[in-house]
């Protein structure tokens, strides 16, 4: 029997920009990628949720601050609380921090400049549903594009929650942190965009390692539930 396609939802907020790339990338990696509109108070039957990049609700007040109160975010919080897999990319990472699903905050880049380029990342954790296809210490090339990506961890952040670090810090993030997970490891956020790095034609396919890890983990959950 062919292994089932896991169902991975991608939330579209007003102002999301990378939702279509995320849907395309997940489908290319053999997931059933399902668009989820922001005003849906209940998620469809899903094995994982991705919050994409962009400028949700105009990013007014603070990045992600308004999206935090969207019905789909509330449903995503419930999904995560039940152990569901949630990945937030860029603005999605900001939303997860504002919603309290991930520790810390993302603020204006130290340079005050919008930064848009490939960055090199070091994988700190290879035992997560988001990194299982990577090796610890492996280097990945994935693009960033953000003006508010400087990560400020809470003073009590457990170093084991750091999943990715920049080798060449593009935004002034404390301790070069590029991606973190929650304590139980089912929620992760990162500023770089794996969905823009799934084909060598676009400069790198290292992002596919992260997304394919998520697809693998979502498939395992789909099989376990079947």
């Amino acid at each position: 029997m062919a292994s089932p396609q896991p169902r991975i939802g991608v939330v579209s907020y007003p102002g999301s920009q990378d939702d279509r790339d995320a849907l395309w990338a997940l489908a290319a990696l053999d997931a059933e990628a399902i668009p989820v509109w922001h005003d849906k108070p209940e998620l469809p039957d899903l094995d994982a949720v991705v919050l994409p990049g962009g400028f949700s609700y105009g990013d007014y007040l603070r990045c992600g601050a308004i999206a935090r109160f969207s019905p789909a975010t509330a449903a995503t919080c419930d999904f995560a609380a039940a152990g569901g897999l949630v990945l937030g990319v860029c603005n999605g990472f900001q939303v997860l921090c504002e919603a309290g699903l991930l520790p810390g905050a993302l603020v204006r880049n130290e340079s005050l400049r919008f930064v848009c380029r490939d960055v090199e990342l070091a994988v700190e954790r290879d035992d997560l549903p988001f990194t299982s296809r990577c090796g610890a210490g492996q280097r990945l090339v994935v693009p960033v594009k953000h003006g508010d990506g400087r990560y400020l961890p809470p003073p009590d952040l457990d170093p084991r929650q750091v999943v990715l670090r920049y080798l060449d810090n593009p935004n002034g993030s404390v301790d070069d942190i590029a991606g973190v997970c929650n304590e139980s490891g089912n929620v992760m956020g990162l500023m770089p965009h794996p969905e823009h790095a799934v084909d060598p034609l676009l400069g790198s396919d290292d992002g596919a390692l992260l997304l394919a890890s998520l697809v693998d983990a979502a498939r395992e959950r789909a099989l376990a539930a079947a």
């Binding site: 007040l61 603070r62 601050a65 109160f69 504002e98 810390g104 905050a105 603020v107 204006r108 880049n109 130290e110 340079s111 005050l112 400020l152 809470p154 002034g172």
Partner: protein, 79 residues
């Protein structure tokens, strides 16, 4: 009732906007040793009295208007 919320970057948090403003003021010939940039939120709200208004706005700050990890805030209520 009118209320004003002042939101500031917390002390000790790097404020690159403030540094850019400080540098620009220096170029204009002003001797400024520190500038920090926050925001002002003016509100018009329904409340029985100033104390209730203040309590409401404090709740707004805790839930939305400020992020306690990176920002401090002050609430002023004007009858």
């Amino acid at each position: 009732m009118r209320a004003t919320v002042l939101v500031r970057p917390k002390l000790g948090i790097l404020d690159p906007q403030g540094e850019a403003v400080e540098s620009a003021l220096g170029h204009l010939g002003f001797s400024v040793s520190e500038a920090r940039v926050g925001k002002v939120i003016d509100l018009e709200l329904e409340a029985a009295d100033a104390a209730e208004a203040k309590a409401q706005v404090e709740r707004m700050c805790a839930q939305l208007l400020a992020n306690p990890l990176i920002e401090s805030y002050e609430v002023e209520v004007a009858g």
